[in-house]
Structure formats: structure tokens, C-alpha cells
């Protein structure tokens, strides 16, 4: 052990220490870089999501406002009463009989020059596959076949229960897909990567097939076609966008009218019907529950199984009320203590200075607030009423006392309506409890305790839902008892998120497959992807600001009493308003 060696050791040690320190420094710096990228990504996401939900909030707010007007408008004459009921009744024509429905498509001629796919019923697997191929080649299905297909689809749906039961003993695997939102590329990709539907390959599509994307019609056609071809192996759940009121705002209605200029209205009317008959949920092996939104602390699967799902025309808030009951409720209001926290509708003067619905309601209060029975048809039921006598009475005007909730009535009870709305609109949250979903305006936020309670009550293992876009296309929460699956990749912008689907094998263990329909984004680095999405978000935000520039200027001016042209950081507050 001479001094030479110890010097060498010392030197070596110093070098090692330097390398260690250098590496640590680089790592530290790199982690900070990544964190800042992540921050940018989150902010971008927030921008997109806020704009998406703000749009939805606006929609609900507007709906609330008009409902309120209708509620508080007292018809002073027979004419006005008729007018009111006609306003709510979407059916502008006398009730269609089944016979007339039959002729809806048969009378439509298909010209010889039509080069698109032609369907004949009963559909064969080849037809469905040919349909996918035709759409991939950007062909459009003729209105006659669209209506024919919709007619056959409804016939099939009517036989289905509210909660479809699927078993893995008959098939090897089950594939569950989430929101598609009119993005046909994603659907085609799923079929390409996972295989076409077949008796051995069960598919469940968990709602939100339409709106926002540009090929909602084509997606529906493909999904319905496969459902008719493989009725036992192809399942659809209703989503909150399978709703004509939502479609009015989010693009589906427009898409149909653009693509089918002559028969668009008829198609939309038929679709309204079809949507109402979509099942509400799917249950796999009695262990895995699949539904679009989520659950609440009052979700009752037995009730959901039994109710008449087609009575729920739309899950947009519907607050029609009866004449007699209005007075009764007003009396109730007077005697009620202020302990119950009732939000004042946004368009009325608020007691405190708050914006959208006051603090989140306890669930009980929300039930009480919404607890007015209805006799004014909301969203148009009469045409579908099983009881023609009842339908005639409803068309005549208000005052069908037994209309609401009674068996054979065309309206769901408030409870039934809420049960359905909850499962179509709710979102999971990290904290315990159950509170109103003020961001979306419908449904609730449910905590891990609510999930646990429900799973235990019905002896379930897993809840699969969709409804929320996730960067990776999927996300587990509530100790992996809830799985969100979202199948529309690049939903907010190119590169914003992956899509995913989940496969359940015989042991029911979930196996996730991710994808991104736009190949270009795969090769980009995280940094480039984030930059691009960021640009899109900022661009969208700029457009929104520009659209509201006069309002913004007005707000800013309010804060700038001195007309200096300068506004402090208070402007953020102004922007929020």
C-alpha cells in the first residue's frame, strides 16, 4: 500500500465523485425541465376542458332559463295553454302510426346513379363489413338505407332490457370501447387492430358515438349494422350525447342536415326514437358494470332495470310543472327553514355574490328542488305514447293529473329521470361523498366511498365508464375499482391524447390497448407534442376571446375608472365573469 496507490485511489475516488455529482446535476435539471413541460400540458388541458364544459354549462344555463320562463308563465287562456303544450311537443304532425313509419323509407327512391353501399335486410355480416369499407372510402349511405337501418335497429332495441347481461362463457374476450364522438378513423382503427366483431369477439360501445367529430352518422350506421348482424355479441350503451337536445348544440344535428338535405329531418326524428331505446348499461358476468357516466349515492340498479327507459327522451334538465302543484310547492317553500341550501337560479338576483349554482347541493336538497312532477311533455313524448288516449289528453293541454309517473304514462317520474341522468352524466372525484356536478350541470361527482358502496351492494368487482377525455385514453381511480375508457384519440387537438379500449378476459382482468389515430404524432417527442397542442389551445382561446372582445372591453372599462387604458391583475376576475 504505497502512497502511489492511495493517490491513485484518491484520484479515482475524486473522479467517481465528480461523475456522480455531474450526473446528479444533469438529472436534477432534466427533471425540472420535464416538470415545466408537464405544467404546460396541464394548463393546455385545462384550457380545452374548461372551454368544453363552459359550452355545456351555457347550454344547461340556457335550458334552465327557458324552463323557468315556462314554469312561471301562467297561461291566461285556453289558446295560450294550447300554445304552451304545442311548444313543448316536438311532434308537429299527428301521431304517426306504425304503418306510416313503415312507408317512411320505402317510398324513397334510390337513383341508379347512386354508387354507395346498398343494404338489404336481414343484414349479413358481409354487408356490415362492406359498410365499413365504403365509409373508409368516404362514400355516403343513401337516406333510404339509413332510415331502413334505423327502423330495423329500433325494432331490435325495443326487445332489449335496460341492463344488458353478457357472459364470458360464450366468447373468449370482451372488448369495451369508450366515447367515439364522430371520429370514424378511431373506430376503423379499433376494428383493424382488434378485429371485426364476430360471435367470438364481443364488443361493448359505451355511449357518446356522436357529436363534435365529423362522421357521427357513419359511426352510428356501422354500430347499428353490427348490432343487427350479431345481436348477442354486439352491445351499445346510451351516452349523454345520444340525446337530440345535446345534438342540437354539439354538431350532430348539423351534420345530419348537411349530409341529408332532403331527408335530414326525418332521419333526426327517427334517431330521437332510437336513442331513447338504447340500453342504459351492460353487466358482464354479473361482476363488471359498464355504463357511460358514473353513479351516485342513490343509484338503484333494480330500479334502473325496471323503468321504461324510452320515457327518458332527454336528460337535459326538464322542469315542467303542473298548475295545481305549483301552488302547493310555493306554500311548502314558505314554510321551509333556511337550513336547506337552495341555489337561486343564475338569472335571478342572488342573495350573495356568487356565479353559477351556489355551493354544491347535498343530494337530498337537489331531489327536493327538482321534485316537481310534470305533465307538460318535455322533449316530445306523445307520439310515442303507448296509450293513445293519454297522448290525446296531453296534446290538449295541461291538466292530466295522473300523467306523471303512473304506469302507462309517457313521462318518467322525477326519480326515474334522475337515476338515468346520474348514470349518464356523473364523474368520479378523489374525495369522499357525493355532490352535484356543477361543472357539467347534470349528474354528480361521486367519491371512492360511493363506488365502494355500490360495488358491494351489488357484488360487483369493477365499474367501467367513459364520458371524460384522458391523456392516455384511460385512467383507473378509486383504488382501481373504476376505469375510465375513452376511445376518441386527439380529441381536443392533434396530439392531445391517446385513445384506448379495454379487453376483459375470462378472469375479467382488464387489459388496456392504446392508440393514436394520427400516425404523425407518434414520432413526435413529448416536447413537440405539447408545443403543438399548446398552440391549438392558445389559438382556440384567442378565438374565444376575440368573439367576446366587446364584452371583455366593456368589463375592462369598468375596472378602468381613470380611463388610463391600464388594468391590473383584476382583469383575470373580469375574464372569469
Amino acid at each position: 500500500m504505497g502512497s502511489g496507490t492511495s493517490a491513485q485511489h484518491h484520484f479515482a475516488f475524486q473522479n467517481a465523485e465528480k461523475a456522480f455529482k455531474a450526473a446528479a446535476l444533469i438529472q436534477r435539471w432534466y427533471r425540472r425541465y420535464v416538470a415545466r413541460l408537464e405544467m404546460r400540458r396541464r394548463c393546455t388541458w385545462s384550457i380545452f376542458q374548461s372551454m368544453e364544459y363552459a359550452g355545456q354549462q351555457d347550454h344547461v344555463k340556457l335550458h334552465d332559463f327557458f324552463s323557468y320562463l315556462m314554469d312561471h308563465f301562467t297561461p291566461s287562456s285556453h289558446n295560450e295553454r294550447d300554445f304552451l303544450s304545442r311548444m313543448f311537443t316536438e311532434e308537429r304532425f299527428p301521431q304517426d302510426s306504425e304503418a306510416e313509419r313503415c312507408c317512411d323509407y320505402e317510398s324513397i327512391e334510390v337513383p341508379d346513379s347512386y354508387a354507395g353501399p346498398r343494404l338489404s335486410f336481414p343484414l349479413l355480416p358481409d354487408h356490415a363489413t362492406a359498410l365499413v369499407e365504403a365509409f373508409r372510402l368516404k362514400q355516403q349511405l343513401h337516406a333510404r338505407y339509413v332510415l331502413n337501418l334505423l327502423y330495423e335497429t329500433k325494432k331490435h332495441l325495443v326487445q332489449l332490457p335496460n341492463i344488458n347481461r353478457v357472459s364470458t362463457c360464450y366468447s373468449e374476450e370482451i372488448t369495451v370501447c369508450g366515447d367515439l364522438h364522430g371520429q370514424l378513423d378511431d373506430l376503423i382503427f379499433i376494428f383493424y387492430k382488434n378485429g371485426l366483431p364476430s360471435p367470438e369477439r364481443v364488443y361493448v360501445f359505451n355511449g357518446d358515438f356522436v357529436d363534435r367529430g365529423k362522421d357521427s352518422v357513419e359511426i352510428l350506421m356501422v354500430l347499428f349494422a353490427f348490432m343487427l348482424v350479431y345481436p348477442k355479441e354486439f352491445h351499445l350503451n346510451r351516452g349523454n350525447h345520444e340525446d337530440h337536445m345535446v345534438n342540437l348544440r354539439y354538431g350532430f344535428t348539423k351534420e345530419v342536415m348537411n349530409k341529408y338535405k332532403i331527408h335530414g329531418k326525418k332521419i333526426l326524428r327517427t334517431l330521437q326514437d332510437v336513442f331513447r331505446w338504447l340500453p342504459l348499461a351492460t353487466l358482464v358476468d354479473e361482476k363488471v358494470l359498464i355504463l357511460h357516466g358514473g353513479v351516485s349515492d342513490t343509484t338503484d340498479l333494480e330500479l334502473l332495470d325496471k323503468l321504461d327507459r324510452h320515457k327518458v327522451v332527454s336528460t337535459m334538465r326538464c322542469k315542467a310543472r303542473k298548475e295545481g302543484e305549483k301552488q302547493a310547492e310555493e306554500k311548502e317553500q314558505a314554510t321551509q327553514t333556511s337550513a336547506a341550501e337552495r341555489p337561486i337560479p343564475w338569472f335571478l338576483p342572488q342573495k350573495q355574490s356568487r356565479s353559477l349554482p351556489a355551493s354544491p347541493l347535498r343530494r337530498g336538497d337537489q331531489a327536493r328542488r327538482a321534485g316537481r312532477s310534470c305533465s307538460i311533455p318535455c322533449g316530445g313524448a306523445p307520439g310515442r305514447s303507448a296509450d293513445p288516449e293519454l297522448g290525446r289528453r296531453q296534446q290538449a293541454g295541461l291538466g292530466a293529473p295522473s300523467a306523471c309517473g303512473a304506469p302507462g304514462a309517457a313521462e318518467p317520474t322525477q326519480e326515474e329521470w334522475r337515476q338515468v341522468t346520474d348514470i349518464l352524466w356523473s364523474d368520479p372525484m378523489a374525495q369522499e361523498g357525493c355532490k352535484a356536478n356543477t361543472v357539467r350541470g347534470e349528474g354528480c361527482y361521486f367519491g371512492p366511498d360511493v363506488t365502494e358502496q355500490l360495488l358491494q351492494k351489488y357484488n360487483l368487482r369493477l365499474l367501467i365508464r367513459s364520458h371524460e377525455c384522458k391523456p392516455e385514453g384511460y385512467e383507473f381511480c378509486h383504488s382501481r375499482r373504476v376505469l375510465t375508457i375513452f376511445s376518441a384519440s386527439n380529441y381536443y387537438a392533434v396530439g392531445s391524447n391517446r385513445g384506448a379500449y379495454v379487453k376483459l378476459g375470462p378472469a375479467l382482468t382488464p387489459h388496456i390497448v392504446q392508440y393514436q389515430a394520427n400516425k404523425a404524432t407518434y414520432t413526435l417527442t413529448m416536447r413537440q407534442r405539447i408545443s403543438r397542442v399548446e398552440e391549438s389551445a392558445l389559438r382556440a382561446l384567442r378565438e374565444k376571446l376575440f368573439a367576446h372582445s366587446s364584452e371583455l372591453l366593456g368589463e375592462f372599462k369598468k375596472y378602468d375608472a381613470g380611463k388610463t387604458g391600464l388594468v391590473s391583475s383584476q382583469l383575470c376576475h373580469g375574464q372569469e365573469k
Partner: protein, 162 residues
């Protein structure tokens, strides 16, 4: 002096605002808590550059006595404000970073091979996870030479920041 105090108050107020904004990005349920795993991201987005070890110490400081997996804003704010006031965990300037790369590049070639980078990043210092390593490689690697020209890499990253 009253002026100094005003100025300091203004600085603190500014910090509070920044910290709150950063915190809110990760406060998904709007209940003034964030997942403890996001604290690092929040801190770093505020300009700090702590090591993993320093981060762990900080988390211990802001956690509740009974750790819940969530950090509350009330606890986070004063600690973070102090850090910003004291200018703790400042990031190193570019040239120091460059020097660090040069230390690893003992032959002074101007680049590191992919294998060398992997070895250093996953075996030395506070090792990267596989994910971190892959992510860094995807941006840093020059596919033709399969090496990292660190001078260019640093320049590219720094431009990105601004």
C-alpha cells in the same frame, strides 16, 4: 423603512399568487389539496430545481402528521413562500450544466454515446426510471450517430423554455 416593508409585502403577495395558481392546476376537486406526487412538478414549475432528496425533505415538511397522500394548500403555501424568498434550490446556469456533461465526457469529444448516457443516468446520481430515460433519449439522441451532442441539446432545451 416603510417602503422596504411595502416592497417586501408586495413581493410576498406576488409569490402567494404564483404559488396558488400553480397549486390550482393540480387541485382537481377544487378542495385545496393536491396529490403528493405532484408537489415536485408544482415546485419546479415555480422555478425551483431541487434534487430528489431535497424534494423528499420538503414533502415531509408539508405533509400532515398522518400522511394522507394529499398535501393541503395551507401547509404548502408558507413553506413554498419561504423557499422562494430565500431563493433556495435555484437552477444552475447553462455553463455549469455544460460543464457537468463535459465531466462525463472525459475524452472531450463533444458528445456522449447512447450507452454512456444511459449508464450515467440510470446508475449514477439519483437514477432515472426507465420512462425518464426513454423520454430523454427520444429528444436528445441524434439517430444517425446514436449519440448525444450535449451542447446542441442544452441549447435546444433552453430555447424551449423561453
Amino acid at each position: 423603512m416603510a417602503d422596504d416593508r411595502d416592497r417586501e409585502e408586495a413581493v410576498v403577495a406576488e409569490f402567494h399568487k404564483k404559488i396558488k395558481e400553480a397549486f390550482e392546476v393540480f387541485d382537481h376537486d377544487s378542495n385545496n389539496t393536491v396529490d403528493v406526487r405532484e408537489i415536485g412538478t408544482i415546485m419546479r414549475s415555480l422555478g425551483c430545481c431541487p434534487s430528489e432528496g431535497e424534494l423528499h425533505d420538503l414533502i415531509a415538511e408539508v405533509e400532515d402528521e398522518e400522511p394522507t397522500g394529499y398535501i393541503r394548500f395551507e401547509k404548502f403555501l408558507p413553506v413554498m413562500t419561504e423557499i422562494l424568498l430565500e431563493r433556495r434550490y435555484r437552477p444552475v446556469p447553462e455553463d455549469v450544466l455544460l460543464h457537468a456533461f463535459e465531466v462525463l465526457d472525459s475524452a472531450k469529444r463533444g458528445f456522449l454515446t447512447k450507452e454512456e448516457l444511459i449508464k450515467y443516468m440510470t446508475e449514477e446520481g439519483e437514477p432515472f426510471s426507465q420512462e425518464e430515460m426513454e423520454e430523454m433519449l427520444s429528444a436528445a439522441i441524434d439517430p444517425d450517430s446514436n449519440s448525444i451532442h450535449y451542447r446542441d441539446y442544452i441549447t435546444m432545451m433552453v430555447i424551449d423554455e423561453h
